[in-house]
Symmetry: C2
Subunit: 437 residues, 2 copies
């Protein structure tokens, strides 16, 4: 795409309401536009990144046999009364009365609705186990929405639900999802650390937050830094391997301030391995047994022909939040560099264009056509701004590879640069190879 045609309203002003760098960058680079407090429109650049994240999440869910479906955003209050959460949820739930006066709400999460769907079809243990997920907009009426897409009101989330006949089988589903989450975040260039989270009245150890490290993160985290050295490659999805993987993670201390205890930290982690920093929660998995299946009466006939309640867990990934989290992680010293897998474009061509001499632009168009033929998603900066303003702009847009067509480009060689690395003068064939890797 030519940048002159792209709807990308870049602004030079630092928006005063934006306190953290992801919020600043997203507004300045024209990725989002606020339409109401905590409610954003996703403009083409931001939308493209979010869609790539969504697609990675989807593929990794499908890889473990989870099936995609879609629940509506507007729900009836009735099922929330059945589960007892309608009163509990408080003001964060956006409550609505329709024209008939029926009590409705904008779903902040979907445990009730998925249980209601599953209970009407589950018959016997043969229907189990099952994994269902959807990627849908949710609404939480935050009292003070802030930090852009990190704590907004309307947000995009993947939530999966597992259905099992007993706790042992549920643990398998949980471990599968645990491993799948690590792979999902890895594909986005993120090293997400699973941290034991509070299980409350449910008990047990099947609750984890997945947290990425970012100085601006809202959670304080405490960990044994050897956890970073765990090699995921050696594990697979067999039950036994998942068990070992879980054990290896559990052997290192890693908690958020919610569970932190200084004495325990000192006992379990040698001083030299202690690491304290901030993080951003990007996922949460939680086994809650029959918390919803019991009040909502979601039961099945077990092998002995007796009724038993389905055992459930839920597994969330904040898709829109990840766009912000990635920026917090990869926007360093005023320069953004998207991981390739989620970058809005594969490469940008930046010609130095002189009003009286369009030669570089013509050359750039030829390169553009060549790369397009190889299915490389390329952006061409065809504006007549000077090179230094262009570079400043691309520090915001953050495409990881640049082809600079200016004084350094010879007949058939061009300046090729991976952001934050040294540039090289190479020919188009070599450029294609580098981009196809």
């Amino acid at each position: 795409m030519y940048i002159s045609q792209l709807f990308i309203p870049i602004t030079k002003n630092l928006p005063s309401e934006a306190k953290i760098k992801s919020h600043q960058l997203m507004l300045r680079a024209g990725m989002i536009k606020q339409s109401a407090a905590g409610i954003y429109s996703w403009l083409p650049l931001g939308f493209k990144v979010m869609k790539k994240i969504e697609q990675i999440v989807r593929e990794e869910q499908n890889n473990i046999g989870a099936q995609e479906m879609l629940m509506p955003t507007i729900q009836s209050a009735d099922i929330w009364k059945e589960s007892g959460r309608y009163e509990d949820y408080g003001q964060e739930m956006l409550r609505i009365k329709d024209r008939q006066g029926r009590e409705m709400l904008y779903g902040p999460t979907n445990e009730e609705l998925i249980t209601e769907i599953f209970r009407s079809s589950v018959k016997s243990y043969k229907s189990l186990p099952q994994l269902l997920y959807h990627i849908q907009w949710k609404f939480r009426d935050e009292i003070r929405p802030r930090f852009g897409v990190m704590r907004c009101r309307e947000f995009f989330m993947k939530d999966a639900y597992s259905f099992d006949q007993d706790e042992q089988s549920a643990k398998k589903s949980y471990n599968k999802m645990f491993f799948s989450y690590l792979k999902t975040f890895k594909r986005m260039g993120l090293n997400a650390i699973p941290m034991a989270a509070d299980t409350g009245p449910i008990g047990g150890d099947l609750s984890h937050e997945f947290i990425i490290i970012a100085e601006t993160g809202e959670s304080k985290i405490f960990l044994d830094k050897r956890i970073f050295e765990i090699n995921l490659e050696k594990y697979n999805f067999s039950e036994e391997s998942l068990e070992r993987m879980r054990n290896e993670f559990s052997s290192y201390y890693a908690v958020t301030d919610e569970k932190f205890n200084q004495k325990e930290f000192n006992q379990k982690v040698e001083k030299k391995n202690q690491f304290t920093t901030n993080g951003i929660e990007v996922g949460h998995i939680f086994y809650f047994g029959d918390k919803y299946s019991k009040p909502l009466n979601c039961s099945f006939d077990n092998q002995d022909g007796k009724k038993s309640t389905v055992k459930m867990g839920s597994y969330g990934i904040g898709v829109s939040r990840l766009v912000g989290a990635l920026i917090e992680a990869f926007y360093i010293d005023g320069r953004m560099k998207w991981p390739r897998s989620v970058s809005p474009f594969d490469v940008v061509i930046i010609p130095s264009i002189n009003k009286n001499n369009k030669e570089n632009l013509e050359k750039s168009k030829r390169i553009y056509d060549e790369l397009k033929k190889q299915n490389i998603d390329v952006l061409l900066d065809d504006t007549d701004e000077n090179l230094s303003s262009k570079f400043m702009k691309h520090d915001l847009i953050g495409i990881p590879f640049q082809i600079i067509v200016g004084s350094k480009s010879a007949e058939e060689k061009f300046e090729f640069k991976e952001v934050n690395m040294k540039s090289e003068i190479i020919d188009l064939k070599r450029i294609k190879q580098k981009l196809q890797k």
Copy 2:
């Protein structure tokens, strides 16, 4: 996928609330489940079909240079007050008060919001023309939601918006979209007829509904049947070709009852070419000039350096509605047959399974693995129901190709059947060829 693992709650009962065949089929085949009046969850089978439709719509929008973005579902009432529609819209608008008492609403459409987004970035004529679209859930609080996804409250829609500097340029955008719509529906196997629609106070002839023929359709339509013979292949996206294409369509009478006039019909269409039937609206395009840009003050500096208001049009396709419309068109005599491009699976393998003899199942699994390797999306019916119940079930699911592994399958040959056609006994190589076409 093995059908035993697919979450597909098929029901034999004919749901009493379902009055039309698409609604009946979608409930019986487990494609959707109602969660509140006019609000549905999309189960895996229905979701897959809807996603395929969405992707065709997206690709054809991208093909004409429209850029995808995403506006939120919840909007502030303020911009609707600016345009004057907040009061006009009536009870179909789902109005919401958030915890701060602010007036919000669930967007039934997006003219106001897109105008508000565009006005803040458009500067001069150089920002024009522009085409933006999104595919997002909308809500209309119908007094009597009915006919399943055909007239529901929460529905999935593609809406595009064009921005031009004058009417002449706007007409080009309109014609481009007009042709693009014909191609979009064609790819889904649908022959959609553009029908002149009312332009009300806007005037002119730039408003068309795209209607497919279905006996159960809610609109009565009157047309010159020679319109079916128009060959789209001979046109392309050049301005001149689009103009000719528009002229050819305009030369044939085609209106809904809203615009129908018997005298005019008899004058313009010879008796032998008159055709009267019912149809379903699947798309609507409309040029409305400065209807929103004027009150919302969306203007730009034109070539003469003067302020001018942006000329706009909107272009909708009912994505979730199309799932129902396709069923109305292709569910004939109790047998559904999805067009290949939107079928939930490419092919289904139906083995005859005997409790004491699993040979056919084993054979089917080998075929399954072979087809999977070719990236063919295959469903294997591994249940132990008898063949005739399986066939009845697949009359609902509607996958257009079947491989029947039963008495007629010899050593390495199998019964291959395109639904509603004669079956053949052919080997796997030949089957693959047929499926790859």
